[in-house]
Symmetry: C2
Subunit: 292 residues, 2 copies
């Protein structure tokens, strides 16, 4: 394996134009995942323009519009990386709150620029809007309905909150199942081929009831629990972005201009669950100027 | 759905010639799965000759050598059955310790004859020996190594007992991993595409250690835990038997002639774990005569 510093010859410098505000940003800031390594600059749903590339970069060029997610480095040399699952590399570095081996700190997307190894820099299809697309790089929740419905699945949203029914249907769900009442699962036994669990905990619901909804050999797929499962592989993220462009998927996003006050407002809204369904920090040029 | 009695027009009557002795027979007799419905006649790994067929039977003929597993009836009409998963039918009847809707009792294979709906009667390939094959219909454990190795997999046996290494290798395992020491899993992290768990409990081992052995997106498949997952579907059992014939798979079986004493000896050997690796009751003709 080449030295860490050698790999930095494939780094890409990006002038940020949009950054999604994710629940994991909030977890980090509140210490929900343990004390953050301050100073911290969160943000791992980044889209911007490439302004410089390292001398060994081959896949990205100055002027490209690109994305960065929750990972900025992995060894690309171990068995896990070589199987195309670099997002599980035991040597990986997160986009923020993480020290590189040379003791420099990785900082996220609530900032003017970000730098990442080109392997962790995604091409953004031309038709996609930066503010709507940034949250897709790290987002769960309402994206599950948007993508599944756009792909032609017959989607039922399952929620403890009856208030979400109208939104779920507007997002593309055919039906809505409310888990408020005992026995809510009974009419749906043996009914679903696939359940996507996007909650951030399983201790508040009855796994057996959810499992009873599955057809034999059906799949219960949990994406929301662990910090470790924080992004797909490069291949998966690029495929997701291609699909978003092909199927013309539009996130439900509120934009807030980046600033000290804007970051505070955005993080507080996410903390309070007062978002339908994502916030993107935008207006970077207004604060940081044209950085080309 | 036709009435239960109507479905009995597809029943098949079999003169038994071999019956595997399964751990679940012992569980039933000891009350490990709750009080058995006495009188009980256990045995759900049955092979014998067809001696009579119901008037609507179309797939089995008198004189055929056939097998019966842990199920003798399902509705074949519900969504689960129609998806080819009749072994999960909510209306199914077990081979023994179970009352049919007409209040008659289902009895298993420690007996001269057994009767089952033709859908639950399997064709036995000609090259397979009855005593060696009966335990395959319900067996786990050493069959996992035999089949996986015969199919060309690189198999490692995992056991807490170092004494099993020689047998595991003789059965076809390339390697053997002993779980006696803390950290036993460390050298094998990220190493296996598939783990088959044939133990009858998970409370005695550290799931996290086992999961750490899997490659990303690897599969941990548990077959030994629940009474409910007691047999494959018809299609799966027939495929298994075809494979056993094609790959010339030979179980490790001790045979004991059926008799009051023979049944007692066989059940006690299984109860005490004193078996390498299966017991089959045989010699039915000596006790019951030629029943053709």
């Amino acid at each position: 394996m080449e030295s860490f510093l050698e790999t930095r010859r494939r780094d890409v410098e990006i002038a940020i134009e949009a950054c999604g505000v994710c629940g994991s940003d909030v977890h980090t800031l509140t210490g929900g995942w343990g004390q953050a390594k301050f100073p911290v600059c969160v943000g791992h749903e980044v889209i911007g323009k490439v302004v410089a590339i390292g001398p060994e970069t081959t896949t990205v060029y100055v002027g490209d519009r690109v994305g960065v997610g929750a990972l900025v480095w992995a060894c690309l040399d171990c068995k896990v990386c070589k199987s195309g699952n670099e997002n599980y590399c035991p040597h990986q570095f997160d986009t923020y709150s993480c020290y590189y081996p040379d003791k420099s700190m990785a900082y996220g997307g609530y900032a003017n620029h970000i730098r990442a190894h080109e392997y962790f820099v995604f091409a953004i299809p031309e038709s996609l809007d930066s503010s709507l697309t940034a949250p897709m790089i790290g987002g769960l929740g309402h994206f599950g309905i948007l993508f599944a419905a756009a792909l032609g699945a017959e989607v039922y949203a399952i929620s403890h909150s009856p208030n979400k029914e109208a939104d779920a249907k507007a997002l593309g769900a055919k039906g809505f199942i409310c888990t408020n009442n005992g026995g809510w699962n009974e009419p749906w036994r043996n009914n679903f081929d696939f359940i996507l669990n996007a909650t951030d905990a399983t201790d508040r619901f009855d796994m057996a009831a959810y499992f009873s909804l599955l057809t034999v050999n059906g799949t219960f797929h949990t994406v929301g629990i662990s910090d470790k499962d924080h992004i797909g592989s490069r291949e998966e993220v690029q495929e997701m972005l291609r699909l978003a462009a092909k199927l013309d998927i539009k996130s439900w996003v509120e934009t807030i201009d980046i600033s000290e006050e804007g970051c505070k407002t955005a993080v507080e809204k996410v903390y309070n669950g007062d978002v339908r369904y994502r916030v993107t920090l935008a207006g970077y040029d207004k604060v940081f100027g044209n950085r080309e």
